[in-house]
Symmetry: C2
């Protein structure tokens, strides 16, 4: 039975998509069967895995189509990536137009949850890449998940945004998903040659202690290059820092089971 | 009469807030009277200028309160920062709860436009810091603005997101704000020691040619440190690359008048 993890933080550019893709592809390289669900209309997770967004749109198998599907034939939306054990439900720009108010009788935040219930038995992990906003799509992600994984860029604004995010997680837990837990808080884009990264890391450990992963993802140019080839870091450069760091994270995620 | 510029890009973490604060504070140091309006519930522009979000919330003078004010007494929302000629209408977390559907007879995307009409005569520039999403707040920003300034991080996902953003600008121009122009496209976080930044810059120049500023904002750790002190870059370290680059940008913005 799959563990469902929403990768979320309303602060933009903190490494949500990067973590979803690289943790996903590392877990799948370890032999776990992984499904990534892209619920961000930017479709970065879809692109970063080399999947053609326009092709998905033409075939009407994007997240947008999935949410509007009342026949509940969910299998057709699952697309096999070129990487072993790694599958994706991709998104495209059409998601911007999705107005969840008109989805019929289901409470609009619970649509993804009901979809995942039907497909989770086939996977070990389901990772949901959320957009940078506390909107209904992100609430769908949190409501469908067992836990949230929170990437935090090791800079000032990302640190400051943590309180707002944890408030929203608590609200979601109270009103929509009582079993929602914090999977972990991940320090990303850590530069060892600046004081800023270290002081942010210390602050995060001070406030959120037990939730903070031992693994820190270091700033690594190969991580930023890989998406332009549509390849996760562990396939792009197996000797990159990024590959090493995401392997360490994947092991920690498995250990915390 | 003020020039109203919305600083926007739905891609997260590309330097919207950093550009709003540092362009604003450089223009005001040149003697221009500048008002920054923070319409992002993260309130990063408010924090980055050293303004206490909770104090604004207690005094009920945040963007949230402004949007709900039917007495139209707008002056009280304008807060003087500690920097000459630089004013702000700040935001806080309460903005997440703003449901624009209940604002009475005004079309929900045009609220900010009607507010700015009443206050713009007192300023040379009004800069609007938008959230990382194509939501109603961002549409308010684009509808109220004369033009949009688009920061683009010199990395793959930010480049890819440009098409979606320019589509939305066109849609806004067609339905909400016929006079909306592109003020300029700004390359940010440029690292001269990687090929990635240069190849993204070349792509942006190839597709968007005349709109691209000559000024490029280099990646500069002082820029990321300054917000934790609540001080813009030109006051934090007058010899930093960031201070030089934002001065160059401010001159270009004034020249393009
Ligand atoms: N450890 C890292 N080292 C270097 N670059 C990184 C690292 N992690 C992410 N990046 C780069 O930083 C940028 C932001 O990362 P990413 O897009 O994954 O963040 P996000 O939180 O998903 O953004 P959004 O809020 O727009 O969804 C991307 O260009 C990505 O390639
Ligand atoms: N030129 C630069 N050099 C180094 N760091 C930078 C630069 N510009 C921005 N930063 C840092 O990068 C991070 C993202 O920038 P910023 O928060 O301004 O982006 P944003 O687009 O406003 O993000 P959001 O989408 O969350 O609103 C911040 O921590 C900021 O300090
Ligand atoms: Mg993302
Ligand atoms: Mg911002």
């Amino acid at each position: 039975m799959a563990k469902v993890i929403a990768v979320t933080n309303q602060k933009g550019g903190v490494g949500k998509t990067t973590t979803t893709i690289n943790l996903g592809s590392t877990l799948s390289a370890f032999g776990k069967k992984v499904l990534i669900i892209d619920i961000d209309s930017q479709g970065n997770a879809t692109q970063g895995l080399g999947v053609d967004k326009l092709m998905l749109e033409k075939k009407k198998i994007t997240t947008y189509d999935l949410f509007l599907d009342d026949k509940k034939e969910y299998d057709k939306y699952i697309y096999k990536t070129s990487f072993d054990n790694l599958y994706i439900i991709g998104s495209s720009q059409n998601l911007v137009g999705l107005d969840l108010d008109y989805i019929g009788d289901m409470q609009k935040e619970k649509i993804l949850k009901s979809i995942i219930k039907k497909i989770k038995k086939d996977y070990d992990y389901i990772l949901i890449d959320c957009p940078p906003s506390l909107n209904t799509m992100t609430l769908n992600g949190m409501t469908a998940a067992d836990s949230v994984l929170i990437p935090v860029q090791s800079e000032f604004y990302a640190l400051e945004g943590m309180t707002q995010l944890l408030n929203s997680v608590q609200l979601c837990k109270k009103h929509l998903n009582p079993k929602l837990k914090i999977e972990g808080i991940l320090i990303t884009m850590y530069s060892s040659n600046t004081n800023l990264s270290e002081s942010v890391r210390q602050e995060v450990k001070k406030y959120f202690g037990k939730y903070v992963y031992k693994t820190v993802i270091r700033r690594n140019i190969a991580i930023a290059e890989a998406p332009s080839y549509g390849i996760p870091i562990n396939y792009y450069d197996k000797n990159a820092y990024g590959t090493f760091d995401y392997k360490k994270l994947a092991r920690e995620v498995i250990e915390n089971e």
